[in-house]
């Protein structure tokens, strides 16, 4: 019986959503103790597939065998009963409760908090996941929060653990620790389905890989027999051109100057900015790395004028003090900005593309004439964005929410770049965007700098920052690190900055 050798076997899983075939007759096999990568670009159908395994979505057709037996998984509770556990990319934790209280809430079988705390300590010691059960969640870092989710899963004694892009919120050092834990778990016989599009992680961690593209399985490979570039080629269907490292430009005049800036968080669980000092010159791309939730949003909204309630400090754009100017007044001085959240912040979900084009551009593009909107000019502007930036949409009259994440991002970036800004502040420019489009966006940011603009990129994607920036620093707990020339930095050093360590201190410690 061949089926018995596999813990989980999927046969011809198919799922369609209105307009898309998300999964097209996918097969997948995982053995006990195997770390199996599910590799694919955004939109390849990875999440859909695991949601069917975990009982969140129902397949249109296809069969699932677990331990050789055919099963129908119609709820997460049943999946857990079978021994399938899942760590989501977005945590579902209550900030104001302690670790043990949070874990107790998610348990299918209740046990006393004291007993549970004991179990948590036991597991955390055994697998190298340090975690104090009595701490409140809001005091924990993202990495620690992820440990709660992992421990929550391990408490159920699963046979299969599904992890959905677990490293996107971690520093490189935390990633390493996580991998040690995962390898240990696999040695003990746990099967792990590891979802990612980061190739080096998969090379470092996984045994086998199933590669998806546009809802179809393109290959099942043994990871050790493949190179990073051959995996990439299978994932994307074509070899990506290597990114041309930026030509060195002599930085010109100061486009953005921030001095001793302090800003209190408006949200009680938000991050207050402390003593921010920053200078951007024309022609350079500066990167700010950091783990999510360390003050990136707060920094962006203070710099672009959405949040004007500073405690102290000053902001200058093109030599003029803008500390009290609102976003539109700053735009007239040459600023443009792209927030991390697309729907609801960068764009209005229910309004159409020409209305969305108008949002930040009407001052610089002169789309308003004496109170009245010049609609034909706005439509022309929207059409030029769609053409120049290759936004895939049937028409400009469709609501923004009908565009895919990557297309909407291209539209928003296009809206800002078409205005020819002299200072661009962008957060997470390629988050959730497929690799091809991400590459285009990165090239466009570089090109903008080459034309003489100053570009500030706030991103959690370290590879991206290493690739496109001239100088790099990190934000941790609302404090900005020193900035260093990217060429002199390694991923590990930036990782230390992301954890709030000062580099020269570290060097002293080592000496």
């Amino acid at each position: 019986m061949e089926q018995n050798t596999y813990l989980l076997e999927l046969k011809k899983m198919t799922k369609s959503f209105p307009g898309v075939l998300a999964n097209d007759a996918l097969d997948l096999k995982i053995k006990q103790g195997e770390i199996h990568a599910l590799l694919g670009e955004n939109g390849a159908g990875k999440s859909t597939l695991v949601k069917m395994i975990y009982g969140i979505l129902k397949a249109d057709s296809g069969e699932i065998y677990f331990n050789g037996k055919k099963v129908t998984i119609n709820s997460p509770a049943y999946a857990r009963k079978l021994g399938i556990a899942m760590v989501f990319q977005h945590f579902s934790l209550f900030d104001s409760l302690t670790v043990v209280e949070n874990i107790s809430l998610g348990m299918d079988h209740q046990s006393s908090l004291k007993q549970l705390a004991q179990q948590i300590t036991e597991i955390s010691r055994r697998y190298g996941l340090p975690l104090d059960p009595q701490r409140h969640v809001y005091t924990l870092s993202v990495g620690e929060r992820q440990r709660i989710e992992i421990i929550r899963c391990l408490l159920q004694k699963p046979k299969l653990l599904i992890m959905d892009e677990p490293t996107s919120v971690l520093t490189p050092q935390e990633v390493e620790k996580l991998f040690v834990t995962l390898k240990r778990l696999a040695q003990e016989g746990l099967a792990i389905l590891y979802i990612s599009h980061k190739l080096d992680e998969i090379k470092a961690l996984c045994h086998e890989a199933t590669i998806l593209r546009l809802g179809k399985r393109v290959a099942r490979v043994c990871v050790d027999e493949e190179s990073t570039s051959s995996l990439a080629a299978m994932m994307m269907g074509e070899e990506l051109q290597a990114f041309q490292h930026p030509q060195k430009m002599n930085p010109g005049e100061v486009r953005l100057g921030v001095k001793n800036l302090y800003a209190k968080a408006s949200d009680p669980l938000g991050i207050s900015l402390k003593n921010i000092n920053l200078q951007l010159r024309s022609g350079e791309v500066v990167g700010i790395a950091g783990v999510a939730g360390n003050g990136q949003d707060e920094l962006l909204t203070v710099l672009n004028g959405e949040n004007l309630s500073l405690e102290k400090g000053s902001i200058e754009i093109a030599g003029k003090s803008v500390t009290r100017l609102n976003p539109n007044q700053r735009r007239l001085l040459g600023m443009a900005s792209v927030p991390e959240k697309r729907l609801g912040h960068g764009a209005m979900p229910d309004m159409d593309l020409s209305e969305n084009a108008f949002l930040t551009a009407y001052e610089r593009m002169k789309l308003v004439h004496k109170w009245f909107i010049n609609y034909s000019k706005t439509k022309r502007f929207a059409r030029s964005i769609i053409e120049d930036f290759g936004v895939k949409t049937p028409a400009i009259e469709v609501p923004a929410k009908s565009l895919s994440g990557g297309n909407l991002q291209k539209f928003i970036i296009g809206r800002e770049l078409t205005q020819k800004p002299e200072l661009l502040i962008v957060s997470q420019p390629t988050w959730g965007v497929d690799a091809g489009a991400a590459q285009t966006i990165r090239e466009e940011l570089r090109e903008l700098a080459a034309k003489g603009a100053a570009v500030l990129v706030i991103s959690q994607d370290l590879d991206e920052l290493m690739q496109i920036t001239d100088r790099i620093g990190a934000i941790c707990g609302g404090v900005l690190s020193e900035f260093y020339p990217t060429a002199e930095m390694s991923i590990e050093k930036v990782g230390l900055l992301m954890a709030g360590v000062k580099l020269n201190e570290e060097l002293q410690d080592a000496a």
Binding site: N74, S92, G106, D164, L359, T360, W371, I373
Partner: protein, 371 residues
């Protein structure tokens, strides 16, 4: 265990249905009314005829429809502007009453005087009265973050009591044998009639003008755009640099001002004096008008005419079929109920889920997501 019914958001709600939903609601309301009439032992055919056909089968009936529709359309447009911005002013009734008080008091001030300026002045005072009442709501919302639904509603009752107090006191007709009514306004303070031998007054034209202005504002101007952005995605508005509190102030002052105008038009038009009660709930019915009209000024015009008909029909049904006057309210309530229900089912669909409880909350993988 029985399967649970659950509302699941539709990925692409049908655009056509969004506009057809008022029609669907009207049809469902008619079916429900027929059932209701059957239960009450009245011939549905006769009742529907009395309700919908008879009131508008004469020129006079049509003119009365215009009279009733005027305040409904005015306030319907006003509320649409606010609702578009996500400002839930449901106290237009109070703003209407304040407009009536301010306009009425002005009319009484110019008692037995003549002048072309009197009527414009009355209308402007009415607008100011309504604005004043709405300004309280705006202040409480922007300064103290007090929910405008509650404050505007509660202020409606204050306004009604204020009017009552005034017609029992300061504004009472000195020769009125202590009836709680003001003097009848002089002719110079009454709105000109535009159709002879009817009560159809110039206010109906003002309402049409407000429809056109409201339409232009929403579809053509920067302010209208800002209103729509703040209503759809406040954070995006902030990103652009629009001030949410400015939009709250503007929409509340506009809707309060127009409701006040409607109040002044009512007292100087069909009523002609101040009474303890100057509105049969126009301010509340206008909420239904705004929604049935899909928060669009032209839609508000059509919906205003329909709801006006429900007032007239209620009266006819009362006279001819001895039905209780509450029939009007029931009809309006059914219409709003079916409209909201249709809207929900256009946005969501019903799905039966297995009875097993889902413990783990689903991840919020809506935007961007992973794969």
């Amino acid at each position: 265990m029985l399967p649970k019914l659950q509302l699941v958001k539709r990925q692409t709600p049908s655009k056509a249905m969004l506009y057809l939903s008022p029609l669907l609601a009207i049809i469902l309301t008619l079916i429900a009314s027929i059932l209701l009439f059957l239960i009450m032992g009245v011939s549905p055919l006769a009742a529907l005829h009395a309700f919908f056909i008879e009131p508008i089968s004469s020129i006079y009936g049509l003119s009365e429809l215009g009279v009733k529709a005027t305040p409904l359309v005015l306030i319907g447009v006003a509320l649409s502007l606010g609702f578009r911005a996500g400002v839930w002013n449901i106290g237009a009734e109070g703003q209407l009453i304040l407009g009536g008080i301010f306009g009425g008091a002005t009319a009484l001030f110019f008692y037995e005087k003549t002048g072309f300026y009197i009527i414009p002045l009355i209308l402007i005072m009415g607008i100011l009265g309504g604005m004043l009442w709405a300004a309280i709501v705006a202040l409480l919302r922007t300064r103290f973050n007090a929910n405008e639904i509650l404050t505007s509603l509660m202020l409606s009752y204050v306004a009604a009591l204020l009017l009552n107090y005034l017609v029992h006191g300061a504004l009472r007709d000195p020769d009125g044998m202590n009836f709680p009514e003001s003097r009848l306004f002089s002719d110079s303070a009454l709105l000109p009639i535009i159709l002879e031998d009817t009560r159809l007054h110039i206010g109906a034209l003002i309402a049409l003008l407000v429809v056109v202005l409201g339409w232009g504002l929403l579809s053509r101007t920067l302010l209208g755009y800002q209103i729509k952005v703040i209503g759809d995605a406040p954070a995006a508005g902030k990103h652009a640099g629009f001030s949410q509190s400015r939009i709250i102030w503007i929409t509340l002052l506009m809707s309060g001002g127009i409701a006040g105008l409607a109040g002044a038009i009512e007292v100087t038009g069909p009523i002609g004096q101040l009474l303890p009660n100057i509105s049969p709930g126009y301010g509340f019915t206008a909420i239904i008008v705004a929604y049935v009209g899909r928060l669009h000024p032209v839609g508000a015009l059509l919906a205003g005419l329909l709801l006006a008909l429900s007032y007239l029909g209620g009266e006819t049904a009362q006279i001819e079929l001895k039905l209780p006057v509450a029939v009007t309210g029931v009809f309006q309530g059914l219409l709003l109920f079916f409209l909201l229900a249709s809207d929900v089912l256009i946005q969501y669909r019903l799905q039966s889920t297995p009875a097993t409880p889902v413990v783990k909350p689903l991840p919020a993988a809506k935007e961007g997501g992973t794969s």
